[in-house]
């Protein structure tokens, strides 16, 4: 009994950490632009697929990873420069549709540039599971959760201890005020895309040994990452992680104890229930109507 429960928990935490990693990207970009960037899943895909293709081209693994992250970052910058910035004054729904168009474009490009097959990456520390009271834990899961914690700490330090990070945070609270104190809001927007595309690609590389990587891997991950960011409360990266864990653990526990056929439905019902009682997610900023 305990072994099973632990196993579900391990699965839930691993998957939840993956959703959280994707969700952070949504949160960071939302913070600086109020945009939900639906290409976040494609950054994950680029991270995985580019690493695979570079390795198969004979590039050593560490270099391939760096190359993939760099590629994703370049795509992120290009996306901001050529798609988001020219449309800064467009309504939010319009911006969302632009990012959806971009995600279709990137998927299509990946299928032409690489292929439609699925690939795996070699896990960083092998695939001999660790036994915890009868439940089995893959070393890669530890890598994923560990990286997530490192990223969380890094982001916290960045937002609270660096001038640039504080400027980003300030922009998210009040764009106009930030502008008035001399923050170059456009650069902040660009920076947020750099950050989340980089994080997305890192996530893509980390999860490929577990989830495989393929041209459409970002679609469902993007959707789940978005859910995570929403449940946690948009604009709060820590919320995104907690949201990811809630969704991941809900899925795993439902699959284990209730019905695997309806595990996604149950996860979404939980999301809806959370929103019903907390319309701004768990840690979302309360918007007091000021008139």
């Amino acid at each position: 009994m305990l072994a099973e429960f632990l196993q579900y928990l391990i699965s839930g935490v691993t998957v939840g950490a993956i959703y959280g990693l994707v969700g952070i990207g949504f949160s960071i970009i939302y913070n600086s632009s109020q945009v939900i960037n639906f290409t976040q899943g494609e950054f994950v895909m680029i991270g995985g697929m580019a690493t695979v293709s570079l390795i198969s081209a004979g590039v050593p693994m560490p270099l391939a990873m760096l190359g993939a992250v760099a590629l994703a970052t370049i795509v992120g910058v290009a996306l901001e420069k050529f798609c988001i910035e020219p449309s800064r004054n467009a309504p939010v729904v319009t911006l969302i549709i632009i990012t959806i168009g971009a995600s279709i474009f990137l998927r299509g490009t990946a299928e032409v540039l690489w292929d439609r097959n699925f690939h795996s990456l070699v896990p960083i520390s092998g695939d001999n599971p660790i036994d915890i009271a009868g439940a089995k834990l893959l070393p890669q899961s530890i890598w994923i959760v560990g990286s997530l914690m490192v990223i969380v700490c890094g982001l916290w330090l960045f937002f609270n201890r660096t001038l640039l990070g504080k400027a980003m945070l300030a922009t998210s609270y009040n764009r106009l005020a930030a502008q008035l104190v001399g923050i170059e809001v456009r650069n902040i927007l660009l920076l947020s895309f750099v950050l989340s595309s980089t994080l997305g690609a890192v996530a893509g590389i980390l999860i490929a040994p577990i989830s495989m990587t393929y041209s459409t891997v970002g679609v469902m991950l993007g959707l789940k990452g978005f859910s995570a960011a929403i449940v946690g409360g948009l604009g709060n990266p820590m919320g995104a992680i907690l949201g990811g864990l809630i969704v991941g653990i809900a899925e795993a526990m439902t699959a284990g104890y209730i019905s695997s056929a309806y595990k996604d439905a149950v996860a979404f019902i939980i999301i809806l229930a959370v929103l019903f009682f907390m319309p701004n997610g768990l840690f979302g900023r309360k918007v007091v109507e000021k008139v």
Partner: protein, 398 residues
């Protein structure tokens, strides 16, 4: 709309945009009309709609590659009836509604002579009404038996029915004294249909399904479902119904959880991608597959040996990619179609249809086809073999 508007502008605008729409639709018609002139020296047109992208791209992608290769080779060897053959293909994106539209486009716009396509059961079933109504020969590449049972005049198919695969697995289990199983299936068309067949066939095959789990599209970890199966008392064997990335993920999860019971998957895993993706975890997994998968290991007198090796060699050298058995369905479909046209001596639809029905002892990649008015598949279980993953490759199981 609403409020104060500049009337002239909006009226003109509406006219313009509507005209643009008409021109767009009209242009489609016009190009269609142009192409349909001059019957004699125009190419024979074979139409296809495949799931090149979307949920079943693992089917459509090799199918399309195979068909393009087949038609190119055919034209290089002088074409058919002295005419060139043209392949017109559309990507259904695995959407049945798109498939329906593309079939109409093939029939009415492109005026094809025959249709070979439809990667999934859903895509195929969605177009059958149109096929029957407009009387055009159609060879489906999809699995379910319902496509040709009951027999529909204009509809044929090449792959073994999904049922055969499950029956083969159950037979193998019984021969190894395994009768209590747990199954996990993907929630896509392929996985659901396999699950349905397994439930349906279990009784008569003497198999008991003790655990019946599902996973979702794009899932990254199936350990909860497999744990649940693992903890079900009495499970002797495990069957996974699905395709694509989850096949490898399931193999890895299975190994991670330290399960040692026999592990079966379906022909959805019949691709080197599965073995590579599982990264060693696929060892020992058994699947039913077309003989094509292990063509090198077949006895020299095996009927499929010659045609399957030739196809495998051609495909792998051309696309620098290992074959999957799905391309074989497309190969056989085109083989049946072109031979029927050859025998008919024309592209007259009724004659071609009748000739397809008369296909007799045609050796294809998937097996030997003998069709009849009561059997529009004409393939027996014979060419389906059990293979096992060994040393990172496929090994024919005896």
């Amino acid at each position: 709309m609403g409020g104060d508007l500049n009337l002239g502008a909006i009226h003109m605008l509406k006219l313009l945009t509507k005209c643009a729409a008409i021109v767009a639709v009209g242009a489609l018609g016009f190009t269609g009309a142009l192409v349909s002139q001059a019957k004699a020296d125009e190419p024979i047109k074979i139409g296809t709609f495949l799931s090149v992208t979307g949920g079943a791209s693992f089917l459509g992608d090799p199918e399309l590659k195979t068909m393009q290769m087949f038609i190119e080779d055919l034209n290089a060897n002088g074409g058919l009836l002295g005419r060139k053959v043209e392949l017109i293909h559309y990507d259904s994106k695995t959407s049945s509604e798109e498939a329906g539209t593309f079939v109409k486009r093939l029939i009415f716009q492109d005026k094809v002579d025959i249709i070979v396509g439809g990667s999934t059961t859903g895509n195929t079933m969605a177009v059958i009404k149109q096929i029957q109504k407009n009387e055009i020969p159609f060879i489906s590449l999809a699995g379910a038996g319902v496509i040709i049972d009951p027999v529909k005049k204009w509809v044929f198919k090449t792959p073994h029915t999904d049922k055969v695969a499950v029956a083969k697995i159950f037979k193998d289990m019984k021969s190894r004294n395994l009768s209590k199983i747990g199954i996990l299936s993907g929630n896509g068309g392929f996985g659901k249909s396999c699950q349905k067949n397994a439930r349906a066939l279990a009784g008569s095959a003497g198999i008991e399904i003790l655990a019946d789990e599902t996973h979702g599209k794009g899932d990254t970890d199936m350990t909860p479902q497999i744990t649940s199966i693992k903890s079900t008392a009495g499970v002797q064997a495990f069957l996974y119904c699905g395709f694509g990335a989850p096949t490898s993920i399931v193999a890895k999860n299975f190994k991670q959880l330290g399960l040692t019971i026999p592990h079966y998957q379906t022909h959805g895993s019949a691709s080197m991608r599965f073995i590579k993706g599982a990264d060693g975890a696929a060892e020992g997994i058994r699947i039913p597959a077309a003989a094509l998968l292990v063509v090198d290991q077949l006895a020299d007198d095996h009927p499929q040996k010659a045609v399957a090796s030739a196809y495998k060699a051609a495909y792998e050298s051309r696309y620098n990619d290992s074959i999957s058995t799905f391309g074989g369905h497309a190969y056989d479909g085109l083989l049946i179609a072109t031979q029927a046209i050859e025998r008919a001596g024309s592209t007259d639809k009724e004659t071609v249809r009748a000739e397809i029905e008369k296909t007799n002892n045609l050796v294809g990649v998937d097996g030997i086809f003998t069709m009849s008015p009561n059997d529009h598949l004409g393939l027996n279980e014979g060419s389906f073999v059990m293979v096992v993953v060994k040393d990172g490759g496929w090994k024919l199981s005896q």
